[in-house]
């Protein structure tokens, strides 16, 4: 359980455009243990997807530029591999589920073909074996294998997302990157899909990085949480640390923004202002401008990660053990 499968060290990613340099990831450190589910939460544009795409090296370059850092997957630095070596890992040992099932499938190939394709590319097996495996995968995600020869448009949104999951899991990956896998789906279908990822994960022992902005999904699904803000992880810990001992003012603000089912208050307590422009980040703490407890020091100095309790890290000068 304690074996670290993925270790990201000081990852820096920038997007170079004609007008500006956008700092999408600024020294991200993150490690994922075997069998662990970790939630990456944050607002739109915080850099969650950039982190996930850097792991698989599928950022579009240019404009993206990996400026520094190391990503160790089972001890080897993915950023130093050749493209050919990387292709052997991509989709095989590390797989990704994309946000929008409507656009991540090929509309002119049958779903069965698309699942079998992954199997065929990564394993030395015959077409028939690959198809057999694809049928098994379809059944595993709860779609009858009779539908092997149907096209994506014949499936509903939830079913398409299951097909995407079947493709991602077809080669028994050791690490699954799920980028907002349920955001485009209804709550009832979301519950079905999450339940399925959970079951499959338990059966196959896969580690999962779940990217989401839904703190409810994280609470029900993850063991650890990393809160991403302006391209950096500002708080990291177990779900208990984050939900019960929330330390960073931004995380506190995120919770305050949520309408609670059992709350009686008539007004929400949102965070003021907006995330800083990633092409023009402030010198000090990126959250200082919006922070209710910011002091002068926060605007001048960037806080380093401090460990409040074992495994609970926060980048804030004012965090004291949380409430």
């Amino acid at each position: 359980m304690d074996e670290v499968i993925l270790d990201i060290k000081d990852l820096v990613v920038e997007y170079h455009t004609d007008e500006a340099v956008i700092h999408a990831a600024n020294g991200v450190n993150l490690s994922v243990r075997k069998g662990e589910t970790i939630g990456l939460v944050g607002e739109t544009g915080a850099g969650k997807t950039t982190i996930a795409r850097s792991i698989l090296r599928i950022l579009q370059t240019p404009p993206a530029k990996l400026c520094g850092g190391e990503i160790y997957f089972k001890g080897q630095d993915l950023l130093k591999l050749s493209e050919k070596e990387m292709r052997a890992i991509r989709g095989n040992q590390i797989a990704m589920i994309f946000q929008d099932p409507m656009t991540s499938l090929n509309p002119v190939e049958t779903v069965g073909f698309q699942i079998a394709e992954t199997v065929r590319i990564h394993n030395k097996c015959s077409q028939a074996e690959a198809e057999k495996r694809a049928c098994d995968m379809l059944e595993m995600v709860g779609i009858s294998s009779d539908r092997f020869n149907e096209y994506p448009h014949q499936f509903s949104g939830g079913m398409k997302q299951r097909v995407v999951i079947a493709i991602a899991l077809a080669c028994n990956p050791e690490l699954l990157l799920a980028d907002e896998p349920t955001t485009a789906l209804d709550v009832t279908i979301q519950a079905q899909v999450l339940e399925m990822i959970q079951t499959l994960k338990e059966r196959l022992g896969t580690s999962v990085v779940l990217i989401t902005h839904d703190l409810g999904v994280v609470a029900g699904f993850c063991e650890s949480v990393a809160v991403v803000y302006a391209g950096d992880i500002i708080e990291y810990g177990s779900v208990e640390d984050i939900y019960d001992h929330t330390a960073h003012p931004y995380t506190v603000g995120l919770f305050g923004s949520l309408p609670r089912l059992n709350s009686k208050e008539r007004r929400l307590k949102p965070i003021n202002g907006l995330m800083p422009d990633p092409s023009n980040l402030p010198e000090g703490c990126p959250f200082a401008e919006r922070c209710p407890v910011a002091s002068e020091r926060c605007t001048k100095e960037k806080p380093e990660a401090t460990e409040l309790s074992p495994g609970h890290f926060v980048k804030c000068f004012h965090a004291k053990g949380g409430q």
Partner: protein, 323 residues
Amino acid sequence: MALLEVKDLKKYFKVGSRFLHAVDGVSFKLEEGKTLGVVGESGCGKSTLGRTILHLLEPTSGQIFFEGKDITKPDKPTLKKLHEDMQFIFQDPYASLDPRRSVSESISEPLRLQGKMSKSEILEETRRLMDTVGLASRFENSYPHELDGGRRQRIGIARALALKPKFIVCDEPVSALDVSIQAHIINLLLDLQEQQKLAYMFVTHDLSVVKYISNDILVMYLGTMVEKASADELFANPMHPYTQALLSAIPEPDIHVKTKRIIMQGEITSPIDPKPGCRFMARCQYASEECAQPQTLEEVSPDHFVACCKCRALKEKKAETVE
């Protein structure tokens, strides 16, 4: 007297030689200054309901009363007056604004069309509206692409408020926004309601938002009303099996609340020429033969309506298991 009353409203769309039952027999009353939440999965007809009430679509049958007058088939002058009293806030603030119009042009458009004000009055009123929705006057000449989602949605709200309506249909006004921005918009809508005694019909699939903002909630499934009650009653005491499953699927942002998820099998079925019985039957765990009969809306407790022939039996059974 209710501000708005809808009686047995139906809206069918012709699909080839068959009919898609988008809204099938919906009735409700809405008082001044109150909010009716309409929830359901995508494709259940909740947006069509809002559009039909506002005469953006013509109803197939049924009646709509506004301030006691029958407005089901209004003549042109009545319709023009109605569009002053009833307004719409759209889901996607990125798509619902003209990209070539500045903020003040977009907001002042309804006033210009109404033709009751002079140019200087319109300018003054536009500034007042921007102030009301919390848009700084420096954005007056900005274009939508220069603004973030929250500010764009504020433009949409200002436009809707321009003609001093009494009733606004809010069609998923916050679902395209991040939680922190979402909270600001919800607070704004609540403030406006208090100041101007607005009645809202709040269409959404986000159940925690709807609980927060609504007085009454109407649950729709495939065009039909399956349950209607006050927000507190519905969440405390959901009676219809669909409502129960829907509520149990909400991910709670709290790690100590462990809800027992009712995972529904299958997905929403086709609304084209549906069978006369309960439309939820195919996915319902309690379904039996009597469910194939047409369901009627019954008042099971004061102001709590349920369309399920089994709900009384289920309630007794639930009471027994509690004992």
